[in-house]
């Protein structure tokens, strides 16, 4: 029994508590503790990752020494390692980035923000390491509540948008919980490993089928799967940059992770594909969401709203990978989780810098930012290239795997959808690039716009942005390593036709 799985969420909880206390006096102290907490959790995750990588043993921890199936078990396998490392890394980077953006966009009480960030991460990492389906709900709600608190910061519309998210999220959580209830009713246990042994005989029963549908539905709402995504655009647009940069890259992904976990480790192989066509449903809705998100992103003038719709589309990629149900597509979906986290995190952080330095959030007003903040815009360009899927960024590789998966499954409509969405992404991202590099003096079309006169990004923001940009390239170039070390063992169950 290893301590590592438990250490990750609990350390974050502890740091949250201490950070809260410190934050009452000093926002700076709260931030430093938050960074320390995230880095600590990251370190633990990395240690655990080293152990489970390349087909190593899974680490388990039974809470309170109560062994499963009575007790709650934490399970740290390659998938969990993959997710928690990503989550804690992103969290740490955004926390380093946070102070100046928060100072500009919120009115004091920043000391309260950092504990909330730690709580969000505690909840999300907890979701990733737990081996109990009810415990997953608990952590899901922990993360969600803390996220609501964070997302309500920002502009005037933020609290209302967050309230809407809360309602949607509550319904989603409720569906999931209902599903858990049915499953418990049918199988008698809440432990994932136990369920995996018991469900094969029960898979015909209506209770189990309904349970699966409800659980996936609930998670899909939280994942902003089309058409249950309506909460997302307003939330991402109105909230402050720091919550957006933290939540957008990771929150919805963990719900996607939960679906994948249910698929691979709880329900029997073939359950999601034969029988109830859950996989196909996810796939088709995702395909619709991809097109929907990409088309609507083109029409947006507000930078953050464009990113929000873009996220709906990108989440569709992950859903599509799930829906394709073959190993290579699932690898693509999982890889895209990391890629998108870096890309979106980077883009929202850049948006925060622009807001800080110029107060502007509308794209037509971004004229000439390229000269005011050249390196920040280089990072933006890398992020944009990654979203379009141009090599050697990470976005290219996840797209390649998804396309390969579609080709292998003969799903040519979905193939065309992914390709079309790259082209559409090119449209809305390159327009932004074009705008930021325009020069009002030489360019008659924009000469009546006021150019941006600003300094570059402050160091505390530039470094995290640089790290994310670097992360995009590294994740791209080393994706083979990531796949071989972690993801191959994860998707192995699918190879049998799962």
């Amino acid at each position: 029994m290893s301590q590592i799985p438990a250490l990750i969420p609990t350390s974050l909880l502890l740091f949250a508590l201490v950070s809260l206390l410190v934050g009452l006096r000093s926002a700076r102290g709260a931030q430093l503790l938050a960074v320390a907490g995230m880095l600590f959790a990251f370190g633990v995750s990395a240690l655990g990752l080293r152990e489970v990588a390349f087909g190593g043993d899974t680490l388990r921890y039974a809470v309170g020494n109560w062994l499963p199936p009575i007790g709650i078990e934490f399970v740290f396998d390659s998938l969990a390692a993959y997710m928690t490392t990503l989550l804690t890394f992103t969290g740490a980077v955004v926390t380093v980035y946070a102070p100046k953006a928060l100072a500009a966009e919120t009115d004091g009480r920043q000391g309260m923000v950092y504990p909330s960030m730690l709580l969000v991460l505690a909840g999300l990492t907890g979701m990733c390491v737990t081996g109990d389906i009810f415990n997953l709900y608990v952590f899901l709600e922990v993360a969600a509540l803390a996220a609501y608190a964070l997302l309500a910061l920002g502009e005037r519309g933020a609290p209302v948008a967050t309230l809407r998210y809360l309602l949607f999220g509550a319904v989603g959580g409720g569906f999931y919980l209902l599903g858990v209830a049915y499953l418990y009713f049918a199988a008698g246990t809440l432990n994932m490993a136990e369920l995996a042994t018991l469900l094969p005989e029960l898979q015909e029963s209506r209770a189990v089928i309904v349970a699966a549908v409800l659980m996936v539905l609930g998670l899909a709402i939280k994942m902003a799967l089309f058409p249950m995504h309506f909460w997302l655009p307003d939330v991402y647009t109105n909230t402050a940059s720091v919550p957006a940069a933290l939540i957008a890259p990771i929150m919805t992904k963990v719900s996607a992770y939960a679906i994948i976990r249910l698929w691979l480790d709880v329900f029997p192989p073939g359950f999601f594909t034969e029988g109830v066509p859950i996989a196909a449903a996810i796939g088709w809705f995702s395909a619709a969401g991809i097109l929907y998100g990409s088309v609507l992103a083109i029409a947006q003038h507000d930078y953050r709203r464009m990113l929000a719709y873009s996220s709906v589309g990108q989440l569709g990629y992950i859903g599509l990978g799930i829906g394709l149900a073959n190993p290579i597509a699932m690898v693509g979906a999982l890889l895209h989780i990391v890629n998108h986290a870096f890309m979106k995190g980077l883009l929202f952080m850049v948006g925060g810098v622009i807001k800080l330095r110029t107060g502007r959030t509308r794209i037509p007003e971004f004229v000439g930012i390229g000269r005011a903040m050249p390196w920040t815009m280089v990072a933006f360009t890398i992020g944009a290239l990654a979203m379009v899927g141009i090599p050697p960024t990470a976005g290219f590789f996840s797209k390649w795997y998804l396309l390969l998966g579609s080709a292998e499954a003969g799903a040519w409509v979905w193939f065309a959808v992914i390709v079309a969405s790259s082209l559409l992404s090119a449209i809305y991202f390159f327009r932004v690039i074009e705008m930021i590099y325009r020069d009002p003096e030489r360019d008659s079309a924009v000469k009546d716009r006021e150019p941006v006169e600003a300094d570059g990004a402050p160091v505390s923001m530039a470094v995290p942005i640089g790290i994310m940009a670097g992360g995009i390239m590294v994740a791209g170039i080393f994706n083979v390593l990531i796949v071989r070390a972690l993801l191959e063992s994860v998707v192995a169950p699918l190879a049998g036709g799962g």
Binding site: G157, L163, L167, A299, Q300, H301, P364, A445, V446
Partner: protein, 100 residues
């Protein structure tokens, strides 16, 4: 006094020499068997001369009249990239306080 109209510029002389050489090649070397049309005497001279005329005719006489447009023909499109076209997307309807 030199009669300027008698002095032919050197470029014409050189050009005339080129033409002479071109014709001259017909009479040099082994006679080629008359298999294809391009083995005929002075075929390439004729083809070059006529080809130039035909292409010019094709271009100026057929393509150009139909497809000529002013250089800024597509220019109004440039304005579209200016984002000045209003999109139908607006902010969502405002909420009143106290609802829900």
């Amino acid at each position: 006094m030199t009669d300027r109209s008698r002095r032919i510029p050197i470029r014409y002389v050189l050009f005339g020499l080129v033409l002479l050489v071109a014709v001259g090649f017909e009479f040099v070397g082994d006679p080629t068997p008359r298999e294809q049309i391009w083995d005929e005497v002075l075929f390439f001279g004729v083809w070059g001369f006529l080809g130039c005329l035909v292409l010019s005719l094709l271009a100026k006489g057929i393509v150009s009249p139909g497809l000529d447009r002013p250089e800024d023909y597509y220019a109004p499109e440039e304005a579209r990239h200016d984002w000045s076209t209003e999109s139908p997307v607006t902010a969502p309807p405002a909420r009143r306080n106290g609802e829900g």
